[in-house]
Point group: C2
Chain length 67, copies 2
DNA sequence: CTGTGACTGAGAGTCCGTC
DNA sequence: TGACGGACTCTCAGTCACA
């Protein structure tokens, strides 16, 4: 499976575990809501700085999002 | 420490452990030599697909390069 | 062998919407 | 709430000559 798809699935899974909407999560991560939507669907190829931002609200290491 | 710097240090450390030159490694990863040079010095902010390419020659999970 | 500045096309990332 | 589109700016991907 493509690494962007894996990233997207991990983000969605963790976000839903927290019970957050995409908008809630986007605000916590400091990222635009439409961008989160694209990422969860594997339609974007984010940079490592974005991966770091994505990891903050979940309190996990950035690398975990790529597993 | 900045995530780009961490990535760069990890790549350089692993590359030197293997005894490869930047050029050897770049060829194995399918990336340009000068681009590897930039990444090792933390001057670039690569996308996750690049991180995936970087991980291949080392036979590690892409996420490990971000630790 | 490696660092660096410069360059171009592609795409990252934001913001406005509608359904 | 989330999918999706359009339009926009700015940075990244990828390469080269040269130090």
């Amino acid at each position: 499976m493509d690494i962007c798809t894996r990233l997207g699935k991990n983000v969605r899974r963790l976000r839903e575990e927290k019970g957050w909407s995409q908008e809630d999560y986007a605000d916590r991560a400091g990222i635009h809501r439409t961008y989160v939507s694209d990422i969860e669907r594997g339609r974007r190829n984010p940079t490592v700085t974005v991966v770091e931002k994505l990891a903050v609200p979940f309190d996990v290491r950035p690398g975990e999002l790529l597993d």
